[in-house]
Assembly symmetry: C2
Homo-oligomer: 229 residues x 2
């Protein structure tokens, strides 16, 4: 586990990285709101329509909380969150679901990946921000409601398992590609996570372990759905 | 003003009408959530993106409150609210905005019309339901944030005034057409409002006055935007 920096004694780089991480999470929640609302509109039955709408609004409340937090720490939410719009637009463009089933899988698998990512990176920021992030990400069960829908769809049409397994791999692949892009664009954030152990960063060994944990969690989600990871 | 029926002494027709009205409002809010979230996604700048998202979530909270209310009065929210899906799908299909500006006008003008409608009809149901409806519809200022955007767009492109004035008339026209369809499909609700004065309904004179008030409020909104009603 990394050393947790003290909130009162953050370097400029650490503050920049803290803002970057909050911006990424806030922007992710705003986009999650928009895509969940789209899935909600796609759903022709009141369930899962109502659950999708509720989750969308939880994501939006998270975005608002992150905006307020950024203002409270002296950053401009519009700039910091807005900086991630191109990255997330690209991610969602490349992972636009073709139907409600793919949309629901993106809710479960995509939300899982991005929340895991954010929780892992939160280990490297100060304790106050860590606690805030854990709270704003909500609990891991909030997307559980889609599991029975996907499982039932697979029972009704077992032939779709191949397509969905591929879709899950694509979601993970695109998430990693965008994470790499973010790391390239945000040296402070990248240094925070993969920097030299002397600088409080993870070092490559710990970074590799983090990637292994993310991949493992993704495989577990795919298996829960009855799909090959 | 109509006689307000006592909650404890409602006839079966009045209860059916009460459920119908709640269902219409709840379904309207669910669709408002979906279209506002779509407008939010269309907006490329953080404002009005954030305001549109917030309003969307307010509408969704309203839908949830109506669902809970219907359950509390012994009705099945899924059936009662779901019954209006075809009407509202038709309304939104016929009034799909072509760009963000038309979307924002629909937020201000369309939301205004439907809230006015619901408040007028609420005059004919029991006091408890009336109070609930007034609360769930929120205040009249919640869509005010779009007014400066539309006014500025008109300053930048005065030539679009004709198109937007036509768009406003179309929104009102489609709202009236759908209201007529609802009245035809829901005799209890229609009787409640336009029934004979003996039955506690408005009678045609009062109904005409109600339509005049709705049209007047619509004209005022259009004039505030700088558009011919």
């Amino acid at each position: 586990m990394p050393d947790t920096p003290d909130t009162a004694a953050l370097s400029d780089d650490q503050i920049a990285a803290q803002h970057d991480l909050l911006g990424l999470i806030g922007c992710g929640q705003l986009f999650a709101f928009e895509t969940l609302a789209k899935d909600c509109a796609l759903s022709k039955t009141m369930t899962p329509k109502a659950e999708l709408g509720q989750l969308a609004c939880q994501e939006f409340a998270g975005f608002q909380a992150v905006s307020a937090r950024l203002s409270a720490v002296g950053a401009d939410p519009e700039t910091v969150i807005g900086a991630y719009v191109p990255t997330l637009t690209e991610f969602h463009r490349k992972t636009a679901p073709r139907d409600l089933l793919e949309g629901l899988m993106k809710v479960y698998v995509g939300d899982g990946i991005s929340a895991d990512f954010a929780r892992e990176i939160a280990n490297y920021v100060d304790l106050e921000t860590q606690e805030f992030i854990r709270e704003v990400l909500g609990n891991r069960d909030q997307t559980e409601f889609v599991v029975p829908y996907i499982q039932q769809s697979l029972r009704e049409d077992p032939g779709s398992a191949g397509r969905l397994a591929l879709w899950g791999r694509r979601l993970m692949g695109e998430a990693l590609a965008q994470a790499q892009r973010v790391a390239a664009d945000r040296p402070d954030l990248a240094r925070l996570v993969v920097g030299s152990p002397a600088a409080g960063g993870a070092g490559l060994v710990e970074f590799a372990q983090m990637l292994a944990r993310l991949t493992e969690a993704h495989s577990e989600r795919m298996q829960r759905l009855g799909l090959a990871p």
